[in-house]
């Protein structure tokens, strides 16, 4: 039973928030159109009957890939912080929380 879903501006704003992506007004207009077209495209799988079918996440049929509990050398602190846009005293500097 298919529900007709449309991506409204409200839904798109919510999704953009969940994904922490700020869209410009232009982008919002453009995307609203594009995303609904993509949604129509997604909807093609509605026609497939998947009764009793299990989902597949892994195609390589591996199990129990495990690692021994033996420590390795970590990255030197300087290399860890090398790419940080902002840092202080060995810490990454992130924006304020509240």
């Amino acid at each position: 039973m298919r529900r007709k879903i449309v991506i409204t501006e409200e839904l798109m704003d919510h999704l953009a928030w969940l994904a922490r992506i700020k869209l410009t007004e232009n982008e919002k207009r453009e995307f609203l159109r594009d995303l609904n077209r993509v949604l129509e495209f997604f909807n093609e799988i509605d026609k497939v009957d998947v009764e009793g079918i299990e989902p597949t996440t892994h195609t390589a049929l591996l199990t129990n890939v495990l690692r021994d509990d033996v420590p390795h050398k970590p990255l030197p602190q300087a290399e860890v912080l090398y790419n940080a846009p902002e840092k202080e005293n060995g810490y990454f500097k992130a924006p304020k929380i509240l």
Partner: protein, 488 residues
């Protein structure tokens, strides 16, 4: 305030501190006290292109804990991603487990027994998950509300956690604390978590009062704080209910400094974690043989140990349960017993009534306790040899605990050897009689006054005089006074 129907559930996060490396990478897990960002690699830093690989021993330990909690272990376990943005999460998702949408955590169900007010109560477990710890945020001003920026240290990122979620079976803060203590004892006996380490055991609590909405409390650092936070919440919610205010379902944050809970997440209802399978980690099959192997290798658990104490040492169930509330205490008891070689019950008695009471009063953690098993043995032998009295024992025990000096050392230093020499006592009794003539006359007719005289002897000898002997001698000498043999 009337009794309100309280329902408490806990979500406990326990670090598998016994592991040498993190959950998904081989960085050393020994990060405490180290400079920031010195225990990281591309994987736990979430660098582009890095991939997680599961620590074999983490699975072993998780199965052990599941067995100890009587949970049903899943035959095939998978990992899921839980998505949310936060600066302490390097990938902005956490690799964890989920119990829906095809997910399968390490174990479902289970229970543990707590002893509360002499009664046994069962607390049910809902599920057990394996997941990774995020990094640590540091607020330069010390407070989340006033810091203009946040400092991040990823040393802790990727450390292996077990998340143990209970049903809301607890009805009071004391029960919650008892649950956490029992859990801690079990984990310590298993050797998977040194729960004394800072941050190794954290809990979030869910509480509802009088059938009202469920409030979640986060950021509770230790089991001790859980009791405080819950007690505060019960009062807060009860007061609201009394005033006719509806308690709303929300998440609150335990402010450790001010000892109150404060509202936290505003957009709680908008949290959509978008759980989906972690494609970088293939499923892990748990066979019955493997579970058996783990079960056979498991150390003795607290309840079994308590039963053994009852059986082998003749302790009561209550005494045994108290001794196993912490692995440290149970170990200390058995080690001391080895040195002592006497009646276990006597040792248990001293430990439970004197030793433990004082430790709890001062809120000491095991690593602050300097007393050695040999000291307990020595103490008991001194008592039994009548070198010291029980009073002196109680007197010096705190110092042994805190300083680690032997009883002998302390007795010598403080000159506390029990006086058991009859002649010495007689002399002192005579002194007392002379100093308290009135009381002597009293004592000849009034039994109560005899105790006064004995007390004076004890005072003069600073408690060192053997009480029994003193009593006997006082009575003897009183008789002599009555018969006129002694004149005062």
């Amino acid at each position: 305030m009337e009794e309100r129907d309280v329902k408490i559930g806990l979500e406990v996060h326990v670090q598998l501190t016994a592991l040498k490396t993190k959950l998904f990478c081989s960085c050393s897990s020994d990060y405490r006290g180290k400079p920031p960002n010195t225990h990281v690699c591309p994987v736990c830093l979430g660098l582009p292109g890095a991939l997680p690989v599961v620590n074999r021993k983490a699975i072993d330990y998780a199965v052990m804990v599941a067995l100890a909690l009587n949970s049903k272990i899943n035959e095939k376990i998978v990992f899921f991603r839980k998505h949310y943005f936060y600066p302490d999460l390097p990938k902005n998702f956490q690799i964890t487990q989920y119990d829906r949408a095809g997910g399968a955590p390490i174990a479902i169900g289970g229970f543990l027994k707590i002893n509360i007010n002499g009664r046994e109560k069962i607390i049910r477990i809902r599920r057990i998950n394996i997941e990774e710890d995020p990094g640590k945020l540091v607020y330069p001003t010390g407070s989340i509300t006033t810091s203009p920026y946040t400092l991040v240290d990823y040393n802790r990122s990727g450390i292996a956690l077990l998340e143990i979620v209970t049903e809301p079976d607890m009805s009071s803060p004391a029960e919650a604390r008892a649950f956490l203590n029992k859990l801690r004892s079990i984990l310590e006996h298993l050797g998977v978590c040194d729960c004394e380490l800072e941050g190794s055991m954290r809990a979030d609590a869910n509480i509802s009062v009088a059938g009202g909405s469920r409030v979640e409390i986060k950021n509770i650092g230790s089991p001790k704080d859980v009791e405080k936070a819950l007690a505060y919440e019960i009062i807060r919610q009860s007061q609201a209910i009394s005033k006719g205010i509806i308690v709303k379902s929300e998440t609150r944050h335990w402010d450790d400094l001010r000892k109150v809970t404060v509202p936290l997440r505003v957009k709680e209802e908008e949290q959509d974690y978008r759980y989906f399978p972690e494609a970088d980690i293939p499923p892990i099959v748990i066979t019955k043989d493997y579970i058996e192997k783990i079960r056979k290798s498991m150390p003795e658990l607290p309840d079994a140990r308590a039963k053994r104490f009852v059986r082998n040492y003749g302790l009561t169930e209550y005494e045994a349960q108290v001794l196993v509330t912490s692995k440290w205490l149970a170990d200390f008891f058995e080690e001391s017993l080895k040195h002592y070689g006497g009646k276990p019950k006597k040792l248990a008695n001293i430990l439970i009534n004197d030793f433990l009471r004082w430790v709890h009063e001062k809120e000491l953690e095991p690593n602050s306790i300097k007393a050695k098993p040999q000291h307990m043995a020595e103490l008991l032998k001194l008592l039994e040899g009548k070198v010291i009295s029980i009073k002196i024992l109680k007197n010096i025990l705190p110092e042994i605990i805190v300083s680690g000096k032997s009883p002998q050392e302390i007795i010598s230093e403080r000159n506390l050897v029990k006086i058991s020499d009859k002649e010495v006592i007689k002399k002192i009794v005579l002194e007392v009689f002379i100093e308290h003539k009135e009381s002597v006359r009293d004592a000849l007719v009034n039994k109560k006054a005899v105790h006064y005289l004995i007390g004076q002897v004890m005072r003069k000898t600073r408690g060192k005089a053997d009480p029994e002997l003193t009593h006997k001698i006082v009575l003897e000498m009183l008789e002599k006074v009555r018969e006129g043999e002694i004149r005062i």
